[in-house]
């Protein structure tokens, strides 16, 4: 019988592989509501070559593999549904290159957003990347693989749209370069265009088609100053128009729409957070004026107005990543938090928030409704976010039911579930155009003939 543990230890060193119950337990669950399932091994490679050897071994022995970054998708995407090997990528933590002129960075597969943020601030203060609101431990690759969003998503699209190249270990063990560096190892400025964009074979696939070991990411100008404006309205139906007016100005960095019942002063109002940036007071003042003018008619009709934000309230609103996001998990004093985050057309916002309130009332839940405008307003991410107490199985069950209903509603409304659970993936697959599904299936079979990569996910 083949001793997989020893073979893994030969590849990464004994101290970087475990089959202890403790690691299997922890890596077998995430902070969301997906039932746990343990891996047989957890392994932590340090180089692409080590990843390659692990994949070759797994492919030969037909052992499932699940690559894991920060593990904070909350929807069970790195829970190893069929056991096997979880590859914790965080030892691959080197920032390999920053190209200041062409504005991109190349990172290894385990670099965290926190470390990249710190590195850029220290060494390239004029550049920044799109920092997600997930905690600092979330990885750049993990975030790209789930089509994550960040503070620059309103301007430049999903964080995965900012990818400028990939190095991938294919399920059969080959190392494959995607993008401009496929012909020149020195240049990582494009992930595909003007040629076929093969990054689409890996982004959004949740690790079912390969393991990204290096990633190029576009960087953007880091302005000297940032400020936040808050527009308030109690007219849900006006939100799409407000966003349309704001995005028309092309003056905003980020637009986030918030509705939550706590603290009580926030109940009943929609808070639209508008982040602006500039290199001078004059630039910020100009942007404030343009934004103010854009919403003047709503203000005049008394349907909304700007909130005066005290100076001490601004830092938490501007903080990147925002620690307030994780504090939501402690609202019920129970360490739990999951959300279904469908991507929806802008005009559907009122229907979604109405649905969320219906679910809250039906299932007696604590909630927050946070939405982010994507790519200038073509769509937005709407989060059905519910917090729960991990020691309260009844509450967890009610949230599972509410999220199931939210997913069904999303599909009915023509929305796209973001980082869907396996159950939601099945729901999507059932409704997908058969020929689209056929392409997905062909791609999967071609790249992963033995079905070893994160099995259970995107199984057509």
């Amino acid at each position: 019988m083949i001793d997989i543990y020893n073979l893994l230890a030969e590849i990464v060193g004994e101290q970087h592989v475990s089959n202890h119950k403790e690691e299997r337990y922890f890596y077998g669950c995430d902070p969301g509501l997906t039932p746990p399932h343990e891996p047989d091994y957890v392994v932590m490679p340090e180089t692409t070559e080590e990843v390659q050897q692990i994949v070759k071994l797994a492919n030969k022995e037909k052992i499932p593999i699940v690559p894991k970054g920060g593990g904070l998708a909350l929807t069970g995407l790195v829970i190893p549904q069929k056991g096997g090997i979880v590859i914790d990528m965080k030892r691959m933590g080197k920032i390999l290159e920053v190209n200041e002129k062409s504005r991109y960075v190349v990172v290894e597969g385990g670099v965290t957003h926190g470390m990249l943020q710190n590195y850029l601030k220290k060494h390239h203060p004029k550049l920044r990347h799109s920092i997600p609101d997930s905690p600092a431990i979330s990885t750049v690759v993990g975030n790209a693989v789930i089509h994550g969003q960040g503070r620059l998503t309103q301007q430049y699209g999903f964080n995965s749209d900012m990818v400028s190249g990939l190095e991938v270990v294919l399920p059969t063990g080959e190392i494959c370069r995607i993008g401009s560096h496929s012909i020149s190892s020195q240049h990582w400025f494009s992930k595909g265009a003007p040629w076929p964009d093969l990054s689409g074979l890996f982004l959004g696939w949740f690790g079912t088609t390969g393991i990204i070991t290096k990633l190029g990411l576009r960087l953007y100008p880091c302005k000297k100053m940032r400020d936040v404006m808050v527009f308030l309205t109690d007219k849900i139906e006006l939100v799409p128009d407000i966003i349309l007016k704001l995005t028309h100005t092309e003056m905003t960095e980020d637009i986030v729409v918030n509705e939550q019942p706590l603290p009580p002063r926030m109940k009943g109002n929609i808070y639209i957070l508008i982040i602006i940036t500039g290199d001078s007071d004059e630039e910020l003042d100009f942007k404030r004026k343009i934004i103010w003018d854009a919403l003047w008619d709503i203000f005049e009709s008394r349907d909304g107005g700007f909130l005066s934000v005290p100076a001490d309230m601004k830092p938490p609103l501007l903080e990147m990543p925002s620690r307030d996001v994780v504090r939501f998990a402690d609202v019920r004093k129970g360490g739990g938090f999951e959300y279904s985050g469908p991507i929806i057309p802008l005009e559907k916002y009122p229907e979604f928030i109405t649905k969320q309130k219906e679910l809250v009332s039906k299932y007696n839940l604590s909630y927050s409704a946070t939405s982010r405008v994507i790519a200038g307003g073509h769509c937005m991410m709407y989060a059905f976010a519910f917090t729960f107490n991990r020691a309260d199985p009844d509450e967890m069950d009610r949230i599972r039911k509410a999220l199931r209903e939210a997913a069904e509603f999303t599909v009915e409304q023509g929305g796209m579930m973001w980082k869907p659970t396996i159950e939601e993936q099945k729901m999507i697959i059932e409704r997908m155009d058969p020929n689209t599904l056929k392409i997905m299936k062909k791609i999967k079979e071609l790249l992963d003939p033995n079905g070893i990569m994160n099995p259970g996910n995107w199984e057509a």
């Binding site: 337990y25 593990g71 710190n118």
Partner: protein, 385 residues
Amino acid sequence: MTDYTKQIHRCFRCGYCKFPSDYSDFNCPSYARFRFDTYSTSGRLWLIYAWLKGEIEWSEHLAEILYSCTTCKNCVEQCPMKFSSDIVDWIVAARSDMMEKEKGRIPPRVTSFLEDVYRLGNPLKERGKRDAWANGIKRYQPGDEYLFYVGCLGSYDEFGRRMARSVARLLSEAGISFGILGNDENCCGNEVYLLGEKELFQVLAERNIQKFKELGVKKVVTLSPHAYNAMKNNYPLVSNAYFEVSHYTQLLCGLLRENKIRPSRNKIKVTYHDPCFLGRYNKIYGEPREVLQSIPGIELLEMERNRENSFCCGGGSGNFVTDLLGGSEESPSRIRVREAYETGADILAVACPSCMTMLQDAVKVENLESKLAVKDISQVVAESL
């Protein structure tokens, strides 16, 4: 503290506990060493909750994970949740529970640590001769202003002894009346408390407090931040006997301000390592730096991770003896001396005998002995007189 078994599930495993506030590197010493998420604070809290629920059973590996925490409080500093201040108390409470419920099945090195403190009054396997370091320094007598409490490392460890002698020299030169307990001194119990052996801690604390009472001690100055922490924060839970406790860097700082110690010019480059039990536990960041900066000509170069964000040497919670984090390039003490060396300093100044022994070993293993001298703050001052 609230019952930890009713609270511990509140950890969301968001991972902020792994970092310093600027995310420059991993700042949880055991996570930096082992890199499995289980060795981070959230890993421990989730495993403890699983153990309480019966989802996992006790194992040697679980015990190793639990006891490899140095209780450095980086997690307390960085956790964004409202319960953050309770985290280390939860881990200590779980250690106590594990000791009781699992019938003492804890890592053998921890068992040995506790047995040695119980049998010998110190974890270093030394017998008697606690005053061998003192070289004529007198015993405490009623009327002395300060009792100088040197602790186990100050009494027995060679580097700790040098620290103790250096502090004693400065106090003498400043005209402070003080004395030591010599062979009557006992372990302070700080590590015993953190390892979860609360009964033994109670015995040690009561014994020390009783001794202080008998001698009429009103002021204690400690060599070790660990002893300072135990006496300042934990002894009041055992007895309401009042005595004032300070760390020697606080006392030196006062003496320098009063010009009772006057260092001469010394053109040296120094970086300072904040001990967890002085810094994060007791918020003493300024005085040690002020002591160093009182030396004319000194250049104080900060490591990237300093003050609240300081990276633990890996010695806390008894690890300076149990060494559950040793044996790797990624051992915290080795990471820390590399970071100190990167500042360009000639001297890595410490204020804790535990940090001293950890970092002295690390500079040797890293082959930095000729480039970076590890010295106690009092030694840096004494060499400048």
